[in-house]
């Protein structure tokens, strides 16, 4: 897979060679190191990875939510033909407000506790994407028939996200709602501007399993009905499998593997992906791996070669020296691991079972991290 060629057909969003670093007292932390990703029109794409692997930083740099400085963002982000990083803040606000939406992870803290759900959502419906309407325009919109129309739209949207008793909810404060209802309100808010791209950051993770399940079902319906392109961010591979068309696995600020969902779960290639899948407790009652040794890299001083090398059971001296290429291994499938070089015979490539057995063998007393 060439780095300059987006994977998705007919891409809506492409991110090329994204690099994000943070200036800190201890030095410069290179967090995101050359991320390439793309989302096709109508495609649901997931970024999966554990805490601290850079999923949220990637999402935030796409939406310009990082303060610069201390953050430094480089690369190319193209949304439907427009290069985003070169836009002025105002132009970007417009694109973002009209065509992109974000649903945050925490339904508790993403709604303003001092306004009712109705007020917040109606404001979004009326002013979304216009941060500088001016006083006159503000009063005109706020106190005219437009307000009632917007309110109707909000009600309709609340019904669409299957909010129980939407009329009453409009006049309730977020604190009066349960977690599941707040999550529904946030999804409704995100859909009010009829976005082309929905970014969902760990949606429903803070909720109970049965509610989480309801939210995912709802999301699947909405994606279909609104023909949304979605970038999902999750640490739960099971969720990625349920919802998405294609998955990017991130580790240490890099994409280590990408594949269509079925391919990724049937035939995971990168040792990290394999380790992650092997570590998930299984319903079949099969033994699960005992986790991946070590901890995520220190971004102030990341490993010079493959960032997974220090934890990889198959690492060689070569891995520690240079970053591996992204090798193409089928349609829309790539893996950043030297084991997938043409020169390496297929028999030497690890399977999930091998990785599992590497990780199930109880190690001796280790000296350090999780």
């Amino acid at each position: 897979m060439k780095l300059d060629e987006p994977v998705a057909e007919n891409p809506l969003l492409t991110v090329e060679n994204l690099e994000v670093g943070f200036e800190s007292f201890d030095g410069f932390a290179e967090v995101i190191d050359g991320v390439n990703l793309s989302i096709g029109k109508g495609e649901v794409v997931t970024i999966a990875g554990e805490t601290g692997c850079g999923k949220s930083v990637t999402m935030k740099s796409i939406l310009r939510l990082l303060n610069q400085p201390p953050a430094r963002v480089n690369g190319e982000i193209t949304f439907d033909g427009t290069e985003l990083l070169s836009l002025s803040d105002r132009e970007f606000e417009r694109v973002k407000g009209q065509r992109m939406s974000l649903v945050f992870q925490d339904p508790m803290s993403s709604l303003n506790p001092t306004f009712t759900i109705g007020e917040q959502l109606t404001d979004t419906a009326q002013f979304g994407g216009d941060s500088d309407t001016g006083v006159v325009e503000f009063f005109r919109r706020r106190f005219s028939g437009e307000r009632d129309e917007a309110r109707e739209r909000v009600l309709e949207m609340l019904r669409e996200v299957q909010m129980p008793d939407p009329e009453n909810i409009m006049d309730s404060y977020p604190s009066q709602l349960s977690g599941g209802m707040r999550q529904r309100a946030l999804i409704a808010q995100a859909l009010l501007n009829e976005p082309d791209l929905l970014i969902a950051d760990e949606i429903g993770t803070a909720l109970d399993v049965t509610i989480h399940d309801q939210i995912l079902d709802l999301l699947k319906d909405l994606i279909e009905n609104h023909d949304l392109s979605v970038l999902m961010i999750t640490h739960n591979l099971g969720v990625a499998r349920q919802v998405s068309d294609r998955v990017y696995v991130m580790y240490g600020g890099r994409i280590v593997e990408t594949a269509p969902t079925d391919e990724l779960f049937e035939n995971p290639k990168h040792p990290y992906t394999q380790g992650l899948i092997a570590s998930i407790p299984r319903l079949t009652g099969d033994e699960m791996a005992t986790g991946i040794d070590g901890s995520i890299p220190e971004y102030l001083d990341p490993p010079p070669g493959c960032r997974f090398a220090p934890r990889c059971p198959y690492a060689t001296a070569e891995c520690e020296q240079a970053r591996p290429e992204m090798y193409e291994r089928g349609p829309q499938t790539g893996v950043e691991c030297v084991l997938y070089d043409e020169a390496v015979p297929a028999s030497e490539r690890p399977t999930v079972e091998e990785t599992r057995s590497h990780m199930t063998r109880r190690p001796g007393k280790q000296t350090g991290g999780d």
């Binding site: 399993v209 309801q214 779960f265 380790g275 009652g285 986790g291």
Partner: protein, 357 residues
């Protein structure tokens, strides 16, 4: 030695009601029935998993056992001794035999104490001599696969998994027999979670520990627990050997929980019951539904479910279930009864009966 056949922990009809106060004089107007008639036993060296969503009262059960809150009714017996609402003198003895590990590894460590100091506290309380402290702490750290470098570190220098290891080491310091594990891995990533579970398994084998494992994640207990109990709104809805609960989940709530797990292989999909999404959300424990507590969300609920409270009865000599579907007096009222065995097990039975590949 005490009688081996006697369970280490017996909980019988445990109740914990929290009063709701209202008005100027703070009169008790109502009760939140957090735990309402919970019974279970744990044999020595075994693991019981207590499963439920937030608000189901599973943590309150653990807190009541260890005496962090008093019980409203029922009894808790530990090693034959009644420890319900234990006296201070009882507690002092009890706490060197029962310990708890909490969910959030960060907030359960004092940020201003080094790991060494945090671990020395329970040892001092046990009367370990000052000169031996360091050695004993290092022993503890090694027991949880850390080393003496951690003696001088502060909690903020550790990752979540390492902090949880320290918490487990601290609980082990007094050499307890029973560990109450309150969601010990839910704040951790999967690869770290797997390591903590492996550690807990090793420790159980090595020291013959007994675990009460509280979690909301059903898939986690499949390998780990001998018995599983599913809680909903302060009551146990289904309790039985883990294998049985997973392969033949009987209560509609257990089935819903199982079917909601996002899994990663098709093979596992076959281990999930038919997908039956629940209606609505868990009701407030202040206002518990009449009849069966689950009827407001149950896909099978009939009229009888909203009036008559189901009994907790053993089904087919296997697990006990609190559901009218398994009560002969009500069985006729249900026209759509779930196929109990999950697909994977059902297939096995069919295959072995018909000798087809």
């Amino acid at each position: 030695m005490t009688d081996v056949s006697e369970p280490l922990l017996e909980v019988d009809d445990l109740e914990k009601y929290f009063p709701v106060k209202s008005g100027i004089i703070k009169r008790t107007s109502d009760y939140v029935k957090a735990v309402d008639g919970v019974s279970f036993d744990i044999e020595r060296g075994e693991t019981l998993a207590l499963i439920g969503e937030s608000g189901s009262g599973k943590s309150t059960v653990a807190r009541t056992i260890i005496g962090l809150t008093g019980a409203t009714g029922g009894t808790v017996r530990f090693d034959g001794e009644d420890i319900t609402n234990a006296t201070d003198e009882q507690l002092a003895r009890l706490r060197s035999r029962v310990q708890m590990v909490f969910q959030d590894p960060t907030s359960s460590l004092n940020p201003r104490r080094t790991i060494g100091k945090s671990l020395a506290v329970p040892l001092k309380a046990r009367g370990v001599a000052k000169s031996d402290l360091r050695e004993r702490v290092v022993d503890l750290l090694e027991r949880v696969e850390l080393n003496d470098e951690y003696w001088n570190k502060y909690p903020h220098e550790l990752s979540g998994g390492q902090k949880q290891r320290v918490n487990i080491a601290r609980a082990l310091a007094v050499e307890p027999e029973l560990l109450l594990l309150d969601e010990p891995t839910s704040a951790l990533d999967v690869s770290v979670q797997a390591k903590i579970i492996a550690l807990l398994e090793d420790l159980q084998e090595e020291f013959g520990l007994t675990y009460l494992f509280i979690t909301h994640d059903l898939s986690l207990v499949r390998n780990f627990a001998d018995e599983t109990a599913v809680m909903y709104l302060g009551e146990i809805q289904e309790r039985g050997p883990t294998e049985e609960v997973f392969q033949r989940p009987r209560h509609p709530y257990s089935r819903a929980l199982l079917s909601a797990i996002p899994v990663t292989t098709d093979e596992e999909e076959a281990y999930k019951p038919r997908h039956e999404p629940l209606r609505g959300e868990i009701p407030s424990p202040r206002d518990v539904p009449a009849g069966c507590r689950f009827h407001t969300r149950c896909p099978y609920a009939t009229d009888a479910c909203s009036t008559d409270e189901p009994q907790f009865v053993a089904v087919d000599a296997g697990p006990s279930v609190r559901c009218h579907i398994y009560d002969e007096a009500y069985a006729d009222a249900f026209d759509d009864v779930p196929e109990v065995a999950v697909a994977a097990v059902a297939d096995e039975t069919v295959a072995s009966n018909t000798h087809e590949p």
